[in-house]
Point group: C3
Chain length 330, copies 3
């Protein structure tokens, strides 16, 4: 019954083999829309509203209609509960950016990495803003604009979305691609939870109560982190989704091994990552007062946290396919 234009299942009611994930123009349109939404850490409500509308419209095409859980008790987060869940997918909605301080100073939201001259967008009491990023000699960030911008206004990169034969390039693929992955997986998901989280780029703060709800209500202890990682000395573009064995945090080896067994059995493409730095929503699950096992599983990108994040299309397909299998096999 799966008939969603964005992803086409090549096998009808597929068996155990991977379905062929097709990335077409409509897919790109959705991903571009997601990237263009201004939602830095603390202002995820815009993306929340978009997702609620999208889900309301699309869920009729999904195999299982999820329970949709949101509201002030969840701040700007959304939980989708499908069937009898055993595993939760966490996809953070927020992006990095800047906050306007005094004079024309800017403070980072998360860890942006942009060259001088980068175009920044926002809105304050006087209207829309498109300004330019500058640095002084001590590498402090400033904006250049025709007028003073209200204190506390957030600015995000202007989106220049590029869709080439093999690559997608845009600001905020981290983590709109992780959100997109979750939406694609939702189409065929029978049993599972999808959690759209907040503040991941700036110290966290929503995963603790999401974990509490997910564990206390549905007794879930397994989580996959749908997020974007780095091309590195051991991880290449186009070689498949990344299963991260560790970053700054170390997930329980037993759980990570189960994931590897599943994907090896299915002969899916993947790459193994081993990092000492970086973290994700997995960190907050690790530290929560609930015994969550977690693993970061996501496409690698070049130019992380710049306006030019670049991901190979085959890695996006690989990510969606792997998630579909893991949500069944775990």
């Amino acid at each position: 019954m799966f008939r969603h234009p964005l992803l086409q299942n090549s096998k009808g009611d597929r068996g155990t083999g991977p379905r062929i994930v097709i990335i077409n123009e409509e897919v790109m349109k959705l991903l571009k829309q997601l990237c263009e939404i201004h939602a830095p850490s603390g202002e995820e409500h815009t993306l929340k509203e978009f997702l609620l509308k999208y889900i309301a419209k699309e869920k009729k095409n999904w195999k299982v209609k999820p329970e949709i859980i949101y509201g002030e008790e969840f701040q700007d987060c959304i939980l989708l509960k499908f069937g009898k869940p055993r595993t939760a997918i966490f996809a953070h909605m927020d992006s990095i950016g800047f906050t306007v301080r005094y004079q024309n100073q800017l403070l980072p939201i998360g860890s942006p990495d942009a060259e001088p001259g980068t175009r920044l967008m926002g809105r304050d009491s006087k209207g829309l803003i498109e300004c330019e990023l500058e640095y002084d000699k001590e590498n402090h960030a400033f904006y250049r604009f025709g007028r003073v911008i209200d204190r506390g206004t957030s600015l995000t990169y202007k989106i220049n979305f590029k869709d080439t034969k093999s690559y997608i390039q845009s600001a905020y693929l981290d983590n709109r691609l992780g959100v997109y992955n979750a939406l694609m997986v939702a189409q065929t998901l029978k049993d599972g939870v999808i959690a759209f989280s907040c503040w991941e780029e700036h110290g966290g703060g929503s995963v603790p109560y999401l974990a509490k709800h997910i564990h206390e209500q549905w007794n879930i202890r397994q989580a996959l982190i749908s997020d974007i990682t780095w091309v590195s000395g051991g991880v290449e573009s186009g070689k498949g989704v990344v299963i991260s064995l560790r970053d700054r945090n170390i997930p329980r080896k037993k759980f990570v091994n189960r994931i590897i067994e599943i994907v090896q059995k299915k002969k899916l493409d993947f790459q193994l990552e081993v990092e000492g730095m970086g973290s994700s929503d997995g960190r907050e699950l690790q530290l929560s007062p609930y015994p969550f096992d977690w693993c970061f599983v996501g496409a690698p990108q070049q130019h992380a946290h710049t306006p030019h994040e670049k991901v190979h299309k085959s890695d996006v397909k690989s990510m969606i396919t792997l998630y579909e299998h893991l949500m069944k096999g775990l």
Copy 2:
């Protein structure tokens, strides 16, 4: 019915306009007492005892008699519950200071900032201590005293409380002024919680269980952090209480915007702060497994964490007035 000597309401049963907060000698006496109590992080019990006695004596003059919650289940914290609360005020009781190590070494409690020669006070098994702070060439802190001080003894600044026409100057206005603000707001508070917390200056540890109690028992998700901030490039002495749009942590923008709307409507004086460093009890609310919205609202000071913290009296008045309005409006 409000007849408390410390603060005089100029309008009887006031309407929506701000009452005139008067800072007189009795006010100064209470604030001086609060500053003089030795209660560095981990030793808040002294201030707890003082507050319990003060509250027992004064609550007869308060509009609403709060439920007073304390005991070993709350370590050295105190919760006051007024009416049907929607918002909690957090005021940390602890101060920065030093711990005596070996030889005549001192380790910081929190981040003290004091010149050599500063007088430090404490008490160990041999009696009262008044010693002098010294530094070696590598900027390690030491004490100079006629005898060895017991290991683990805590030392705090000797108080030199100055009350001039426009300013209050003393060690530990951070955060005895935040505690004082909460006590003043208590006089007229109908619905709300006041939480006196511990360890804020040294990594925290009490807000998580306070947040748990406040949320689970009374379903509260809103918090104001009654604490002291800095005069900076964008925040001046005497220009009104500070509403902080962010520090190291970023509160949810939607909540902060509601606060600004309320105070703008009431035409109250305030200043907006935007910082990239520093944190408060708000950090622990942000990271707790409860969906708290929070905002730091407090007077700015000069010479933070020195023995000479200095706050403009009009900013203290502005802080109390703002809290009164916010606890009604939120």
Copy 3:
């Protein structure tokens, strides 16, 4: 009724005086076994299995048969509940080590401190590994081995266990000695909890849910951290177990004072530590949403986190004796 070969009670059913703890060959055998188990942070399941077998075999000799709590809800942790507990002992099972990255790179697990040439042990899909630690000029760690090691494989120090007249020397006395202490205390424990925890060396993650269970199920608010500390300017080998007044975190003074009163009354040997750095499972108890009082109590060692950790035998005896008294007195 206490008849365990590892520790001999000199007084039968002892009164208030300390029993004489004897460290003999069998004791050394157990401790050596514990040290030799490969269980870096994230892979504690090996030590968990050893402990479950050991406890199943030995508990018949214990004064009180504890309830043994473990399973997926507790990941790789174990809880032992004796009688009507008032205090919990936390002993972390994990050790520091290295993770194999790409090429022949190694990433630290926790903070290992080893010279070039150190022998490292592990196992991957191709079998057992014994390789050699190297560093480049920028102090990055590498392995030297005849073949490529699987990504994500963990390596730990090869054990060279030395038992001399006065000292024990081995890698991983931190914290297999803390685990050992808990097992010795278990022999005579009437009322208490023993928690074997995970991930202590690498950011934590199990203490939050252990604390939740211990507090919610048994209303416990007191904890002792059975772990190993450092010989320092104020702490010597052979002068007795260390009671730590603070490290990076500051426990509540009132609780620490109660501990000192008990051990002074019993005239037990101990040393007081005051540190500004370092932390333990106590940090996670401090930050948990449960009002735990905690204190680090453990033997001091030389050469921490090297393959040559060295502890004076009399300090081990002192540690066990102190724990026995504290678990009764608190």
